[in-house]
């Protein structure tokens, strides 16, 4: 994968006849390097999920361009996986089949190869016992593990996660953060990750860089200075972390003054 560039990207949601279109993003420009773990933070409704949808190709920008290695993304597609807030697993397929299905459809594996890959990934995410269960039989945390396994099964170069842990309790969030870090750090090559969260501490624990989004536009970007692997109990109390946290919190308050563009 090459560098991903958003060049003055805008997006407006279509409106009903006679009503003004709602502009979700306006002139957003940023660059994401290959293999980078970028966290997007910002207040609710600022356009984080919209940005992720544009990167995933689920929506097309109404202005500007998204470039991959200098070429429009539509001409130079990236193998992308997206993990939703609420898993996005097919409820009629057991967990193992969900993961195998993803492997089969994106990597062209045979059924047997896909099944073996699914078992391997479910073991890696600690869900081998849940392989034969339906998603409705799993807890929220287990569903997100399954969704992560399904995303990894696609061997994506670009991994997008849209608030994947926001619906979970603190213990599950901590466990899944650790799992994501571990899987990402051990992957070769490491996929580029864009992780959306409104939890500042989560962003500082996971990201190489944290980008703040004001409503509809991109704000400052902060490199995260901590080496990996990161221990939560060490990072969160460090002076550097406290400083970054304070800066980001102030940006949240500042953004309350911003209207949508």
């Amino acid at each position: 994968m090459q560098e991903l560039t958003l060049d003055r990207v805008s997006f407006a949601y279509p409106s009903a006849a006679g009503a003004q279109a709602r502009c979700a993003l306006s002139d957003v420009s940023l660059t994401i390097r290959p293999g980078e773990f970028v966290c997007l933070v910002g207040p609710s409704g600022c356009g984080k999920s919209t940005l992720v949808r544009l990167l995933a190709g689920l929506s097309q920008p109404t202005g500007g361009a998204i470039l991959h290695g200098g070429r429009p993304l539509i001409d130079a597609p990236v193998r992308t996986a997206l993990v939703f807030q609420h898993a996005g697993l097919f409820p009629w397929m057991r967990v193992a089949k969900n993961v195998a299905f993803a492997a089969r459809k994106t990597c062209g594996l045979s059924r047997a190869e896909a099944a073996a890959r699914a078992q391997e990934l479910l073991r890696a995410v600690g869900l081998e016992d849940g392989a034969d269960k339906y998603p409705c039989e799993l807890s929220g945390g287990m569903r997100q593990r399954a969704a992560l396994a399904a995303a990894l099964a696609t061997e994506a170069e670009l991994l997008l996660l849209d608030e994947p842990f926001s619906a979970l309790d603190h213990k599950s969030r901590t466990a899944l953060r650790g799992l994501l870090s571990e899987l990402w750090e051990s992957a070769a090559p490491r996929p580029t990750v864009v992780f959306v969260t409104h939890d500042i501490d989560e962003a500082l624990l996971l990201g190489d860089r944290v980008i703040f989004l004001y409503p509809g536009r991109v704000g400052p970007s902060f490199p995260v200075p901590f080496t990996r692997p990161r221990r939560e109990e060490d990072v969160l109390v460090s002076p550097a972390c406290c400083g970054l946290r304070k800066t980001l919190i102030s940006l949240f308050y500042q953004s309350e003054q911003e209207g949508t563009p």
């Binding site: 995933a56 992308t80 996005g88 409820p91 009629w92 397929m93 459809k105």
Partner: protein, 300 residues
Amino acid sequence: MKHRPILAHVLFLLCVLLCLTGARGGKHSPAMFLAALCLIEAAVAVSCVRGKNARAAGDVGALLFLFFAVWQTVTHFGWADPILFPTPEAVFAVFWTQRAEMAAGVLSSMGLLAVGFLLALPLGSVAGMAVGRSPRLRGAVLPAVRVLTPVSPIIYAPYLVAVMPSFRAAAAAVIFIGIFLPTLLSMSERAAHLDQTLLDTAQMLRLSRRETIFEVVVPYLFPSMLMSLRQSFSTSFMLLTMAEMLGSRTGMGYFIRKFADYADYTKVAAGILLVAAVITVLNRLLDRLSTRLVRWTPAP
């Protein structure tokens, strides 16, 4: 702790006692009625042993036995017109004396119902999916469907009888309309509100349009199809018996109509019980089918 439906057992014994004491003076053999009572008691007992829905089974059993006990008491003591309210022994004896005609009627009715369901349910589902996924079709088709759906198709029966080649074809058409329209309506509304996350997942996996329809949309809508089947089932049975009463020469509805014309209310009552029994059995089969086929839906 296993549930013991004491009331059901007591009422069962009361019914048996009433049956045996009433049978001494009666002209009908109580064998079929006793067999029916034992069958219900066995069903209650099996539910209690299994532990599944034991309490409900006990309550339903108790209500049934209470109904029979009241019926026996009223008829044995001559408190009701014996022509209009025959004894349960007489009614259940019909299941033996008219067994051939009843069996033929059940088969005929099931055949008609099957034709209606096998045509209307898939066509209604496919049409519903197509309409639901197209805003233009939704705008054009749904207003008319919403007007037509509440209209009982039995109203079209005189016209269908004139147009269709036979009464049986007209009856099938009535059932078809009664299932097709509600299925189209419910499926289109469900298809219009598909879970966007699942569609996004399908797009992320680069599924083709065909794959998205058959591997995502159809499985997603399958519980709705089953729900349409269950909801249509009661309506279609009602339409079936009414349609058969129109001019059919066979079937459960025809059985009831024929003996009503002869004022033989013993057989009419037996016909009604037959319809109730068939509906009960088919409903249970549908329940089991639903449970097996959509195990993945969360428990209510």
